[in-house]
Amino acid sequence: MTFRLEGRGLACERDDRWLFRGLDLSVGPGEIVRVEGPNGSGKTTLLKILAGQLAPQAGELAWGERPLRRVRTEYLANLLYLGHAPGVKTALTALENLAWYQALHGERGDTASRLTALAALGLRGFEDVPAAQLSAGQQRRIALSRLELTPRPLWILDEPFTAIDREGVAALEARLWAHAAAGGGVILTTHHALPGHGTLRRVSLGEAA
């Protein structure tokens, strides 16, 4: 079974100004779509619309040929969305944060898999430290370790490189391409170049619409 998220004629208006209008976008297996545009051009809003959080003012979203609002639960079960805010509770440890996210997807999971995911993001030794004592980059890494922990075909990532150091950026870029190579799809906003071999498609916002 394959998947495809398609947006047709999406539009969003803020304060009597069209952020974007008549936007077509589609992502399927093996594709990385980068949403580009200057600050304030509606990148985050577009990602929220694609994640089913916001309703577009016009246009339709479809998940595998069917309207998204009809198959919302199926869609959400296949989606991993990391927003602008990392969604990491600073009073909880990395392990506790991950355990809750796993449980939200109905998986009990086990500590071993969570430790492996955290180690993959370079957080070995920080598993039991309250996230408040970690740096912004490390907190972002906790959120990113969900990419390892809960395999989902479609990733929607809002500025995933924020606060990540140079090695981390390279590793994450490689991870994104590996995900695409394994048949996953990624939609992301970033100002990074994303060098790699594969189809990187661009969607540009912020041109006079």
Partner: protein, 232 residues
């Protein structure tokens, strides 16, 4: 890459949410203790401010205890969704492939367990300060336990509606206080009736009915309110 079938796991999600909320609250004890301290302070000040005369105090004790408990609950409600909203876990909660009303109900249940239930347990003790007549202490605790659960549920609707606003506190009070009034009337009424030696069962039954109604409707209203707030 294979598609993932949605496979329920609601119980796992609920248990984890309850555990997470409990852990979070126990790590920030101040937030639990605040409403209790407020409740105790208000009640201890009344005998000083009004009169130490037991008869006078006993006449107004049920109302005072109930109003103070209601305001203490109200104080703690603003924080119910705010933390989750600020760090982004609220949007993750909304994107979980689980029914949102059930998840928010778990959050509200923990709120009641750590605010309403302790208030109900503390109230008889504070009743002593107001020389509440003997025989009404049990009713006071039961009416507060039932009533504060309704208050948590109703207040959570307001908290969900105002979570996107920078300073939602005042608006939250204005929104939910009118809905608190029936609970206050029946709750304080039950204690009053117990003091007068009447039959409290109908009063408690009414409080129970309000709670049942709130349990049925509030989770859906809270979920809808959260979606509206995040849509803004």
């Amino acid at each position: 890459m294979r598609l993932v079938e949605p496979r329920g796991g609601l119980v796992v999600a609920l248990v984890a949410t309850v555990r997470r909320e409990l852990t979070l609250s126990l790590r920030r004890r101040g937030e639990i203790i605040n409403p209790l301290v407020f409740f105790a302070l208000v009640i201890t000040l009344f005998p000083l401010g009004i009169s130490p005369d037991p008869e006078r105090l006993a006449a107004i004790a049920p109302g005072l205890l109930w109003v103070a408990a209601l305001l203490a609950t109200q104080l703690s409600l603003d924080a119910l969704f705010r933390g989750d909203h600020d760090d982004g876990s609220l949007e993750q909660l909304l994107l979980a492939p689980q029914p949102l009303p059930a998840l928010v109900l778990a959050k509200v249940a923990v709120h009641w367990l750590l605010t309403g239930a302790p208030l109900a347990l503390m109230a008889p003790l504070l009743g002593l300060f107001l020389s509440l007549p003997a025989g009404s202490y049990g009713v006071l605790a039961i009416s507060l336990a039932l009533g504060s659960a309704s208050l948590s549920l109703i207040g959570a609707i307001g908290a969900a509606l105002t979570v996107g606003l920078a300073r939602g506190g005042v608006l939250l009070s204005l929104l939910v206080l009118p809905l608190y009034i029936p609970v206050l009337i029946f709750g304080a009424g039950a204690v009053q009736v117990a003091i007068l030696g009447g039959d409290v069962a109908p009063w408690l039954a009414l409080l129970g009915a309000l709670l049942a109604l709130a349990l049925m409707l509030a989770p859906w209203a809270i979920a809808a309110a959260l979606r509206i707030s995040l849509n803004g």
